[in-house]
Symmetry: C2
Subunit: 641 residues, 2 copies
């Protein structure tokens, strides 16, 4: 019922395979990994396959660490690295982590220096940690890197303790009795506050822990874990599928109330999460509302986050193995696969996913080692979206027409994903002369997010990742202009030059997009182009639905009425979600076939509609038991209790 491998067995394998010349001094758990401390790492150069051989045998990831006594002086190390790095490595910085004995090398082309990792380790006694220096500078990225470096000791202790927990002997499941129970704490027959609790005889894991940004800070905005008698401390791990606040927005809240377990996610989600959570805190402060957590809790979260690469299996509890797969929704978004017990039950949780290519990402993964239950999002369970090509053509046509009549284009956009897609579409159209070379103004937050995109080519579509790795930066087209602060907005709008402005927020609920809107609304030559869903109750939704007068309270506290004369367009088809046909196609393609599909993350109508269609489509999709949970419902997916 459990994977628990005898720790003696692990020890024996390592002692047998590592040559005595290595002078092994100790073994340590480091989160899901096992750290092997040696005094003489030279064997790595001679027996190159040895580490992967051990990893394969014991089914654990291995990291080789050095005894502090053999670590060379920093100057020597820096000199050595510079001497062996080919010129096109593009080294931008070298830092040291004394606690781990790691030398952090930031390089434009990390793959070049990665080849020399073992060589550096053996000759300097420092383990190289090679980080991609993104072509665009990201503040968050640098903060995150710096955060880990400055808290290395705390982090190492956390990882060691976590390792003990993950590899502890199974307690209850020992007699062969186990169960898998999922409870829907939010995001069930609704969109927002996504959170699923997975319980087994051994472990409690959360799949996402988001907030409901559409609601005020009532308990209805929170996943209802409070109603379950479960304290944050009872949770073993949180898996974050992507950085949108409805999936990760309350993870810091768990830390506020004592959670100290691990948060598993991808590198990019970690960075975006920090960015969006800090932004949320700033907006709360500006609006004078009390946020449910503080910056300290975000920092705690960061310290307890463990990033995983796509497709790599990781032990996260004595009876649970996690693998993240590309979800195609936004940068870093993941489908989570849980393998529980030794083949006892397998869950695929899609998070938000796109089963279709976009400019940024490949379509979601659909092949898994095993699947019993799929928990699938259903945002568009009731609707078909227009084809992407048509949406792109429409955007280009609108921009062109606006340009032709001497107007400017305002595109309110979500900072993550949609903005980058629009940038790629516009750059491409200009390159292909479908559009003239119009200046594209990009506001600060969007630039920051774009920079994070350039740091993780492996998480983007193969094609885009390849372009980035080859040194090209597809987000840095010649007409793109990055803006910081409010100063030039009036100038941009009033200048006689043409302009496209991409600004947050995507639904005109605040941010620079609203400022531009106020400046541009009265001119019938300008265009306002919505490229994302406008939620009920937002200014964007009212305007999209035909409002031609809107009132604002201005800086002097007076109500100001703005008449909208600019052209208003709304383009559908850019969604990062699978639409109804794609959801059904996913169930048709997924391998192997799940016996149960649980539909979440959709309004009731979307969920029910999709459920009916799946039940009706037995011939095409096979015999799937479809469940449509309500909030607080629990299903027992497998049991022997």
């Amino acid at each position: 019922m459990s994977f628990n491998i005898d720790l003696n067995y692990i020890r024996n394998v390592i002692f047998k395979l590592i040559p005595p010349t290595a002078q092994l001094t100790r073994l340590e758990f480091e989160g899901p990994e096992i750290a092997i401390y040696v005094k003489n790492p030279a064997f790595l150069l001679e027996q190159t396959g040895i580490i992967s051989q051990i990893a394969k045998t014991i089914k654990k990831r291995i990291v080789i660490r050095t005894d502090p006594s053999i670590r060379k002086r920093r100057e020597e190390v820096i000199e050595y690295i510079k001497s062996i790095a080919p010129p096109d490595t593009g080294i931008e910085g070298i830092e040291f982590d004394d606690v781990l004995g790691e030398v952090v090398i930031k390089a434009k082309n990390p793959h070049i220096i990665e080849e020399k990792s073992n060589q550096i380790l053996v000759y300097t006694g420092w383990r190289p940690r090679i980080v991609r220096a993104p072509p665009m500078r990201s503040k968050v990225f640098e903060e995150v890197m710096h955060g880990y470096l400055s808290q290395s000791e705390y982090r190492l202790n956390f990882l060691r303790e976590l390792g003990e927990t993950i590899h502890r002997d199974v307690l209850l499941a020992k007699n062969g009795s186990n169960y898998v129970r999922v409870t829907f704490l939010g995001g069930a027959q609704e969109v927002g506050r996504s959170a699923i609790l997975v319980e087994t005889a051994e472990s409690r894991v959360l799949l996402d822990f988001g907030l409901n940004p559409g609601r005020s800070l009532s308990p209805n905005a929170f996943p209802r874990i409070d109603l379950l008698n479960i304290e944050p401390d009872d949770i073993d791990a949180v898996i974050v599928t992507h950085a949108h606040l409805d999936h990760c927005g309350l993870v810091p809240y768990l830390f506020k109330y004592g959670f100290r377990g691990a948060v598993y996610t991808t590198d990019a989600t970690r960075d975006l999460m920090v960015l969006l959570l800090k932004d949320y805190l700033e907006i709360s402060e500006r609006e004078g509302t009390e946020p449910p957590f503080t910056l300290r809790d975000v920092e705690q979260m960061l310290l307890h986050t463990i990033t995983l690469k796509y497709d790599v299996v990781t032990d996260i509890a004595p009876d649970i193995r996690l693998t993240l797969y590309n979800a195609g929704h936004i940068l870093g978004s993941a489908i989570a696969h849980l393998h529980i017990g030794n083949g006892f039950h397998n869950i695929v949780y899609t998070g938000d996913f796109k089963f279709g290519r976009t400019r940024l990402l490949d379509r979601a993964n659909y092949e898994f080692p095993r699947v019993d239950t799929i928990i699938m999002e259903s945002t568009y369970g009731a609707t078909e979206q227009p084809a992407r090509d048509r949406a792109e053509d429409e955007l280009i046509r609108i921009v062109k027409e606006t340009y032709d009549r001497g107007g400017k284009v305002l595109i309110p956009s979500l900072s993550v994903g949609r903005a980058q897609e629009v940038m790629l579409i516009l750059a491409d159209a200009m390159k292909q002369n479908k559009l003239p070379k119009i200046p594209v103004y990009i506001e600060g937050m969007i630039h920051e997010v774009t920079a994070i995109h350039t740091a993780y080519p492996d998480l983007l579509s193969k094609e885009l990742g390849q372009r980035l790795k080859s040194g090209e930066n597809p987000f840095d087209y010649e007409t793109f202009i990055r803006l910081e602060g409010r100063e030039p907005r009036t100038e941009i709008v009033e200048s006689s030059e043409p302009a496209i402005i991409i600004a947050t927020s995507g639904m005109l609920t605040g941010g620079p997009a609203v400022e531009y809107f106020k400046l541009m609304a009265s001119n019938p030559n300008h265009s306002l182009v919505f490229v994302s869903y406008q939620v009920e109750g937002t200014l964007g939704r009212r305007i999209r639905d035909g409002a031609r007068e809107v009132a604002f309270v201005n800086e002097r506290g007076k109500v100001e009425v703005i008449r909208i004369k600019m052209q208003v367009y709304s383009i559908e088809g850019f969604s990062g979600h699978s639409d109804r046909p794609q959801l059904l196609e996913y169930l048709r393609h997924i391998e192997p076939k799940p016996s149960t599909a649980i539909l979440v993350h959709g309004e009731k109508n979307a969920v029910m509609n999709l459920a009916n269609e799946i039940s009706r489509s037995r011939k095409r999709l096979g015999d799937i038991n479809v469940l449509t949970p309500k909030i607080l419902e629990s299903y027992t997916l497998a049991y022997n209790i």
Copy 2:
């Protein structure tokens, strides 16, 4: 969302309606009731309707209590009661409860003295509590009565504290946000360990808390509340639908671990529960197994039990009202109706029920004020039972044939229900000369249970209750002989007289029935008649299935093989459960119609089979959403969270 009536309002109504001459001294909660303490209860004789008027207005039950200063001396009280009681009252004892200021009058015909209750109260200053003196003496009944009398002070404190809890202001549900969540802790796709947790924003209530007698004392024998992070102390109340151990067997276990809330059930279930739980403890001791609770816990349970009459609405939590209805299964068995919030949601939990008349009980109630969800047992969800008349005829025929050939009849029987039914059938047949007047030997435990039957005519079928109230004892037929101890068994078997023996256990797992079986097995003239279901793994089942040789370990520790030559019969149709057609009929008759039916208490096959049939029978039963929970599953029946 809540019923919470302002306590000031209650106070005002009472002060307004009780005349000043009453000299009201204080108001107290007493569990679900409100106690009004007065110095001068004379108004009760003048304004006879006043108490029911108050009760109706404030929707609470009222009890009038007296100030100790006005209570007359005991001798005076006894004299007064005897002087006004008509001779046919049949007073058997008068006792005093100083704490409550009650005089307990045990009478053969309680209804006669009940009419003079107010008169006694006014003239003696003691509130009469009139108890039916059963025509057959029951040890348990007397123990229970005595227990309450000796612990009156503890009990009063408990009731006052409970009253505060029940009538406390609603906390969470104040803002109109509430939910109803049911979790199946046992008895889901199985028979045994019935237990359902009902949670609202305000309360946690258990419907039954049984054990699985068929299993050893592994965790699988227990409802799995241990897996929910819920401590017994977190539970507000337990509702016990009937006294079989698979429904009440672990209620004392809750007390062992700190539960101190109320147990709601009927009078008869309370007594039977105490009897069966003590019997369980005795068997455990005899067999040398460690029971999960002790006698102390059973006593604690008894102290915290509040009995309700059928059809009376009672507040059991700030947002829950409970009504018990006749379930027709065994004496005291109840269908529990929960009214949650003010019309927010209504649950009918059938417990075990019989939608068909038996000799003992009327068929289960099917009319309710409101129903949204029905939680229904499904024991016979897949099978039809023979008609009852045919079963009775068969029993009589077998007895007659055995008598004719000079043999004796052994009827192994459950102590509760089946034995009493068989007694009534046999007495009736003898009265009608369908059978000669054969001695019927009844073993101790069955006699005890029969005595409890005679104490509660209101819980029996109208016809049987009427006969009891009119002074007849249908269980005391002239040929019935009560046995105590083992002595005369050999005599009975070896005598040349005819005999019918009714003895426990019903499945030959132990008890006197096994002793008789050993004595009678070798004689082909004798008959063994099973009248109840024989569970897999029991001796009864093996014999019913055709075994003709069984082995016992005798008193000297040697294996003794017994060859079965007696005739073996198994009569179906006496079940206290609704069979499949009755279950479906119940759903057709129930008023009003529930929108959801949740099927429990049945093997997986029975549950699934019944679920399919209900879904297929839309035309006949209406559109009911059918759910078939697994253990640990939770459903959200209503929510606004």
